[in-house]
Symmetry: C2
Subunit: 298 residues, 2 copies
């Protein structure tokens, strides 16, 4: 990543998490649009997939539009059942600044792509977070209240009637977040819900943590599903430690963890004071990284 060259990430969520040919078709369309597909993942319980892609603003805009069009073609939301709330075939389409671009510029990209979605596909559009046109649309939970079958807000573009099979698209701009799930060695969703209520910021827990307790039928286990919206303040490890402590109080152990999409390096490996205070510290002091800069070494 060179400073100055704008790089945008887009992490759309699609309401299909079981039929891989359909998911692959959407990913292929994204690649056709010019962006680089970084990861494709699907969850059968949520019946939802997430495709992470990145590129310059033009490529990412084109790929995002094509993804929404392909999702509308292959997904019929009237037939969709899953554990996760949703409003559209292509449900949420956030643009995330990575380098050389501001959050406000990503909001502009959201507005342009949203306009094209409405005019070309007749899918109504909501703008959320940094792209919201009204304060009550800033929070995704508000926009999606009532879901596809009974959304309560009027769309920003089109509507009030939704697209019959594709619903609405919620397009936005936001900062990087880390979607981090912790699976518990219990099938009791009540345990996960109590833990989530205690660790989330809204319950007086950790700052910049959103958390839900949910049940995953396919694996018969309970999960604490979190969004960490500022990992400089609360890292995944800190969130893990808090969930583990609460789980211990419930007499339950941690099974494993999951990330959705990609995670910034700083959230994996926050540097402790031992290195923050270190003279002349950097990649040139880390053996593996220094070796990579020497072309003739194996």
């Amino acid at each position: 990543m060179l400073a100055g060259i704008p790089l945008v990430e887009c992490v759309p969520n699609f309401s299909e998490g079981r039929d891989w040919p359909k998911i692959d078709a959407i990913a292929a369309e994204i690649a056709q649009g010019g962006a680089a597909v970084l990861r494709v993942e699907a969850d059968a319980d949520h019946n939802r997939s997430v495709i992470t892609f990145a590129g310059d603003p033009r490529a990412v805009s084109e790929s995002a539009f094509r993804a929404v069009a392909k999702a509308a073609e292959v997904i019929d939301l009237r037939l969709h059942r899953g554990m996760h709330p949703r409003a559209g075939a292509a449900d949420v389409i956030p643009f995330v600044p990575i380098s050389g671009i501001s959050l406000a510029e990503c909001a502009e990209i959201a507005h342009q792509v949203g306009a094209r979605i409405w005019t070309s596909l007749q899918i109504p559009v909501y703008f959320y977070e940094a792209a919201a046109l009204r304060p009550e649309a800033e929070r995704l939970e508000n926009v999606r209240r009532g879901q596809f079958e009974g959304l309560q807000m009027i769309p920003d573009l089109g509507g009030p009637a939704l697209h019959p099979s594709a619903g609405a698209a919620i397009v936005g701009a936001r900062r990087l977040l880390v979607a981090f799930n912790i699976n518990l060695n219990t099938a009791d969703p009540g345990v996960a819900r109590r833990i989530a209520a205690r660790v989330r910021a809204a319950g007086g827990g950790l700052p910049h943590v959103k958390a839900l307790g949910i049940f995953l039928p396919s694996r018969n286990l309970a999960q604490v599903s979190m969004n960490l919206t500022d990992t400089d303040i609360t890292s995944p490890q800190q969130a893990f430690d808090a969930v583990e402590a609460e789980a211990r109080n419930e007499g339950v152990s941690i099974r494993n963890t999951e990330l959705i999409g990609l995670i910034p390096e700083s959230a994996v490996t926050p540097l402790g004071a031992a290195f923050r205070l270190c003279e002349d510290f950097g990649d040139h002091r880390i053996l593996e990284r220094r070796l990579k800069t020497v072309p003739r070494l194996p």
Copy 2:
């Protein structure tokens, strides 16, 4: 680093830490020998320099021999004064397995280079750690007891008389270690010595930690100087935390920290349970690293 292609690191210490043209001449000779010079550093108080280089066994052997020859040419140990014990112009020459090579094979390299040092340069040689030929030579401290002016052990090759100006070379093989120093906001070396005595393994402190309290005249401060010989067991951050706690008890704060040479990535950023337990975790999930694998992205 490709698995299977042998890569050896060598981290020789030279008894010259003030005269940069001499240090640069040694580094140039190392590069001529075919290894890649990764870092050159010198300490005026210790009057000692450390050059980190790496390459295949043949190149590293040639570079190590040339370094010892050049050091013998430019350094006269009879004129050397410094805070650090030393036995030779090229004082300690450890070979460290990085990938595709065993510690025993590095000991063989040490024996071959040592033989060449004695036969070609008439500098007596001790073999230490994994290359030691007798148990009492395993520990570097034992070998170097009495220093240049009065070494107590007979060399393994040559001797008992040392080379008049270059002394002896202590050649060995060992695993990677992290040389990590913590500078205190005090000029009192007694504080550093008490802290070192409490945190080191030999004093019942942290496992795999060697520690000394020393005074740095040029900076007028006391330092806890450590070798961490298994950072999977005691990481630099854990050593830092222990020193910081002891310093707080002494009413002293930490000024900053220093590394000597390079540090393996795992010692900088040990993965917490949040990631050790994570499904499908790896470089492909870390945004910056995944982006680097996409050639056409900025």
